[in-house]
Subunit: 333 residues, 2 copies
């Protein structure tokens, strides 16, 4: 094994002390121009690269950011991880990933490990709107932390997410324009902030004077919830004109199961999704869905995070990114 080059070796080869070599490379203190050139040349020739571990020990900074998502298997989160990773790499940070599987205990354990490992910052999609707060507050007091997509309290730490009110509004407006006079909401329960917000947005925005609103169906954000909702709708007998789903997975699960019951979308029923995952745009019918600008959300979140990492003590910020509506086949007959 070609034994990694140390700063000491560079210093020796350049005929200076390690201290000078370090300064020459960082350029942070006064060093003669000639010395800088010499040291840099030698370092390049020897292929010197700083040992991130030694630096981390000394500096207390690892240039690693930890991220916790509830389910990496959900394509929306996969895309989010991808976007976050991209932003971090641009800024020279690595991504330490953990999956909480939606479990509070696991989430809190991972947070502790991140603390021990001295990550420079944490990006988290809190698993529980209320009960995640404790662990977040504790860790957030020590390490810059940004909540993304979901929140456990916007006063707790910086937050970036989509504006669910706008999103639901777009979906509602659209199906009403397409003539839907009876609606059912299929979404997630009150455990997550997105679950609450989307339901509230629907509940407050829908105009009960002009449309009939059926009993909502609420589970989680998965395909399975969509499928279960389909069964329930069919069992109820009369189908609504449209279903507003709180995620693309729910919508896809719903459409798929409805088809098994002989119910075709959009022929018998309109459906809208939420997220704008790639997936929703290739299957048939393509989904009319509220598109989250994932890249923008990730960029904002990492922006917040890195400004904190750089020492900003600005008051807690909360950013809501506006989604757009993408009209597909699921509401077009």
């Amino acid at each position: 094994m070609p034994h990694a080059v140390t700063l000491q070796e560079v210093a020796d080869a350049a005929g200076v002390s390690v201290a000078t070599a370090s300064r020459a490379l960082s350029g942070k203190n006064r060093v003669a121009a000639a010395t800088i050139a010499k040291v840099r040349a030698v370092a390049a020739e020897l292929g010197y690269r700083v040992d991130p571990i030694a630096r981390a020990l000394r500096e207390g900074s690892t240039r690693i950011v930890g991220m916790i998502v509830p389910v990496i298997g959900n394509p929306y989160f996969a895309q989010l991880v991808d976007a976050v990773e991209h932003e971090l790499h641009r800024a020279g940070f690595e991504l330490l990933l953990a999956d909480s599987h939606g479990e509070l205990a696991e989430e809190s354990r991972r947070l502790t490990v991140f603390g021990d490992r001295k990550v420079d910052g944490i990006v988290i999609v809190p698993s529980d709107r209320q009960r995640s707060a404790g662990a977040l507050r504790a860790v957030g007091a020590e390490i810059p932390l940004v909540q993304i997509d979901r929140s456990a309290g916007v006063s707790l730490a910086d937050y970036v997410g989509v504006d669910n009110e706008i999103g639901l509004g777009l979906a509602l407006e659209h199906v009403q324009e397409r003539g839907a006079r009876s609606l059912v909401y299929v979404g997630a329960d009150d455990v997550t902030s997105s679950g609450v917000e989307r339901w509230n947005a629907f509940d407050r925005t829908v105009d009960r004077e002009t449309v009939a609103v059926g009993e909502p169906f609420r589970g989680d954000f998965s395909l399975a919830t969509g499928a279960a909702a389909a069964d329930a709708l069919v069992a109820r007998g009369r189908l609504p004109d449209a279903v507003i789903a709180a995620s693309d997975l729910i919508a896809l699960g719903l459409i798929g199961r409805l088809r098994e019951h002989g119910v075709e979308v959009p022929r018998d029923l309109l459906v809208t999704g939420f997220d704008g995952t790639e997936l929703s745009q290739v299957l048939a019918p393509t989904l009319t869905t509220v598109v989250q600008p994932i890249e923008a959300v990730a960029a904002d979140a990492i922006g917040f995070l890195l400004s904190r990492v750089a020492g900003s003590t600005a008051p807690v910020r909360s950013s809501r990114v506006a989604p757009t509506l993408l009209v597909g086949g699921s509401t077009t007959r």
Copy 2:
């Protein structure tokens, strides 16, 4: 900030030296039983936890494993990451994740970073069957490395993946049983090992005496390839009895786009997938697909990797896990 407890503080509180404290906690050298008890009690009370960075500097081991996947957005890889992460956590390792986006340069850059960061091991899905080998060999000489799902040469480093020959065989046999007399293969190009292996398996296994084999369509493993293949098939005019797709995403993209052309699966055409992603089992029609035992693959791979981390110098191993066939609606009329 509650200032992390150091070993020095534990030692002071217990009235021993740091050396003894360290030995008492690790239990690796002879220390009086009473001292061990005392130190452990004090450590627990103070909430001491070793600083992984200091330990890493001293030991040269980080208890971090790096993983590189081509596209985290592909649900199959998302599930693979999930399974790998699970196995690693069980063994007390953290996961540093990077996405190569299928680019060789990016892949090699991430490998270098992993080396610098002194990860204890690397799990990689090589992006290129041939051209990934160089970087893999270089890094693999220094750090335990296991290839998973795809390979850049099974003699290069340990490898664990599905047995594509068996998988394709299952799919072929199944559609023939269902009466298909003409087939088209839709898969990935020769850049990846899976692309090559699945095509070869198809090509060698299919019995050209009893079935007509149409011109294959090859792209990558994405939805888009499936959609493009659908366009091509329709453009050709006569549809085959069945399409054997090399991934679930391809199959789903294909089915979706075919439907837009008015071609229904399985009514007009049978389709089989490959991977057994959760997704493929909820949409309608559910997919007949070759199910990869992802957990088993991940467990084997991490088993190989950790035995190397522990110092094994056994000859390079290669493990093929047998897939099974899950029959769904896409081949059932």
